[in-house]
Symmetry: D2
Subunit: 291 residues, 4 copies
């Protein structure tokens, strides 16, 4: 009963560290493990080893992504690697388990496949708020990486999903001239309505030579060598799409165009806000379950 | 006659490198010196030594600031230090000389004091466009340095001059809740009109505990220990004022609050745009002189 | 063959007048009818009677909405009423027919029900661009109707569909404090991300007393007497939802609160842009059909 | 002593009516006169005749502008005209008198010239907040008067003073493409920095043919027949400058271009906010005087 309100936060980057601290500040008992080098996580977080943390807690929160390589936990702040093996699997029986990108676990073994894991990364509210942090991070990359001011520059956003929408809106707010490439004609109508220049992907070749910065969000090769060959030397390419991305990095290198392949911006530049999003998502799922 | 359109760009950071390249692209003959390690500056820029560059050119552009320490030219991309000595003074006789923050030269000797140097940094148009680059750089520092998203955060801009105005406007555009501290009541009326919360400096103590990020632009101690002591641990202080700044850095360290002392942002993050501003200012002065 | 490029624009408000003029300016032969009092529609539009216009043309464009009352064409600028009777039905056989809100026609008789009519109002791109004109019109109503400035006022947008999204964005751009009421939790996440205050409908009663202006877009009674009773006397209610609207108008009157029931804003305040939207939609459908 | 906190609000438009109501709501004793047809002004305002109101009060607030024609008070909501004659002058001796555009009074007679009148219209804070109301009103005129959407339209703001600045910012926020004409090169630098297209007045002739809506704020003939002759028939001219304005209205009529000569927008569309600005200005002056 008592440990119904006990959380274990296991592994992860600064988001996990802030998550542990924030849950503790809300009054929960929080055990952290695999975060030894993250520094101070907040008052009253109990630092311990992975198995103690799991044993003492009813709710286990794994990081995003949960698996880094092969069968190892994603734990950059841990002094030793944590194996997602049979012993771990056993320890987790009967617990409520949360993890980000849990498909990584399913691939390990049959045991993991049948373990009930709730993937907070798949929750749409999480994705929306995460997109905001990604858009802000992308903005920072452009502000720092391009040797000119954003105000008045010509920016192309490729893709008009969650992240594309937010980047376009922020770029315009900072005074850039915004082009958005999309496929659906309803998206193109929205794009026009928002005051951006709507571009079909097949028309990209006619505008690309004027573009200063490209923000790609499409996880498919859309910014190919043919386009890159026509770009200005001073231009910049930022790829925000998940693996394998949508920019031909080799071609960019060949033509001497600066590129940033930038997955994981929320964890890097907004770990505190990201921790709150994870916390809110997990707590809202727990609340729903109690009804 | 011919060398009327010859420019020498001497020393400086990436702004000088881009400046040389841009003047050359405009069709002028450009000699660069003291920029050996800046890399490629643009087609047809002639790299040479300082004295050759000066001898061959009618117009000499020194960097911003022109003096780094004592009597040495500011030349971070040069392999050897360049002394602003009598020999240099002699070489410059009869040339049109531009420099940024030329008061540094005047302090060297009587000869420099009477040399006619035009300070492009003092031109108001330059300052306005430079303030834009500073505001964008400050935004980047906040986006990267604060572990939360700017959207929805509470930001205080201290001072409502050129830089303060631009930062406030950009922060609001990115969804922050913006407070602006100013002294003049007409400034406070403008601040209200722009949708920011107007604050008198003496009222800062009543709001400071809610502030997430402070952007100071006032070159006088306004963010003192008394205020810093009340700030949140997770807050961030960014000082954009010129020396000696307006934030008590020691107090910030004492209370564990993250601080960025950030002069020179335009040269750091927007050297290309900054080079264009210098070029436009210099060319507009030359044009005026011809009338 | 020749009359493949002949258009008849029949009835309607200023949108139809501008539509006729714009098609003529594009080089098409255009017959207009039922627009006698609309004034000058553009060079080379041929004004004639309804049956001549239909006979001479391959493509017939009826207005939005096509039916005003019972079986009469919506033709406010016509000197006489035009009946949508059997004779009209016969004249239309074999023509390509476009109309807005064509469900009105279907209700007239079996003949109209089976006549192939393309409803441009149902095309999503049309709806998106129409929503923009609606949002601008709503803004104008608030700017003129409320005796205070929008800047700093507290505005509630009820509903987060196309129109709600655009109004919220424009209100925020003008400095209002924006609250958005929605049902779906993903909408609420977007709302937060855009910098508006997200409100569930059931929470409206706790914020309504602070609201200055309500923009309703939900076609269902959401702003009921219970809510209206708590509103400030100086507040204003604008209902943009289609019939029957979502604001209890009687209650508003009882409590002396200013109300605007405002359908049809695009035709009223942006007839020229609306005409272009209709034209683009019709022409894009014709182009698709030719492939 | 007691009547130190008694105010008389005499004549004026809805601003005066709201001003009376707002002062009463603050707890002051308020007599109103010359506002008989304004309707309900707020609880506990005492409606009386002009001379009673003045006699009972220590502080007299006249409207903006105070004089309408010749020697008559500006009192559109009064049933009879109020003469600013010797009897009135006598009644005002020893009172604290506030009025807007008091130069109208000075012209009446020597007695008025030496009467100490504080002109709240000359206070810069008042002007700034009044400019906001003017800018919002101008926006409403454009939204309603031009038959197209503002989003994407090309708008020219002539003059970059208080009102010009605010209109430009609001137009851009609503998605217009903004051109600003100014004379000073520092203004032009600011304009560029804000993301508008900077135009010198002498360059107007090269852009005017593309402009959809002109907002003039310069009280001098800048939009002359030569320019108007080149404008599109569908364009619109809005003159916000005080008398004699800056648009050649006759030429506009000649070329069939829609024009709005629109002084006094704050009183027309934002009387409540304008009343608060007058109240705040008057009270702040009274507070200063007490120190």
């Amino acid at each position: 009963m008592e440990n119904e309100s006990c959380f274990a936060v296991i592994g992860g980057d600064m988001r996990s560290a802030y998550l542990a601290g924030s849950l503790a500040a809300d009054g929960f008992t929080v055990y952290s493990a695999g975060l030894e080098n993250a520094g101070y996580c907040g008052d009253s977080v109990i630092m311990t080893d992975v198995f103690t943390a799991i044993r003492m807690s009813a709710i286990i929160i794994f990081p995003l992504p949960v698996v880094r390589v092969a069968t190892f936990l994603n734990a950059p702040f841990s002094m030793k690697s944590v194996s997602l093996d049979e012993r771990m699997l056993e320890a987790l029986q009967g617990k409520r388990i949360f993890a980000g990108m849990s498909e990584g676990l399913k691939r390990i073994s049959r045991g993991w496949e049948i373990l009930p894991v709730i993937d907070y990364y798949k929750v749409e509210e999480f994705q929306i708020l995460n997109a905001l942090a990604t858009a802000e991070g992308a903005l920072a990359l452009a502000l720092i990486g391009a040797p000119y001011v954003l105000n008045g520059s010509k920016c192309l956003v490729s893709g008009y999903g969650r992240i594309g929408k937010m980047i376009a809106s922020k770029l315009k707010a900072l005074g850039a001239e915004v082009y958005v490439a999309a496929r659906k004609s309803t998206d193109l109508a929205w794009i026009e309505t928002m005051g951006y220049a709507p571009i079909r992907f097949e028309e990209l070749k006619s505008v690309i030579r004027n573009i200063d910065i490209v923000f790609n969000t499409v996880p498919k090769l859309v910014i190919n060598e043919g386009l890159i060959a026509q770009m200005k030397r001073s231009s910049m390419l930022i790829d925000l799409a998940s693996y394998p991305g949508g920019i031909d990095l080799r071609a960019a290198e060949k033509y001497g165009i600066r590129t940033e392949f930038a997955p994981g911006l929320p964890g890097k530049y907004s770990p505190f806000s990201s921790a709150l999003i994870i916390k809110d998502t997990v707590r809202s799922i727990l609340r729903e379950a109690q009804k």
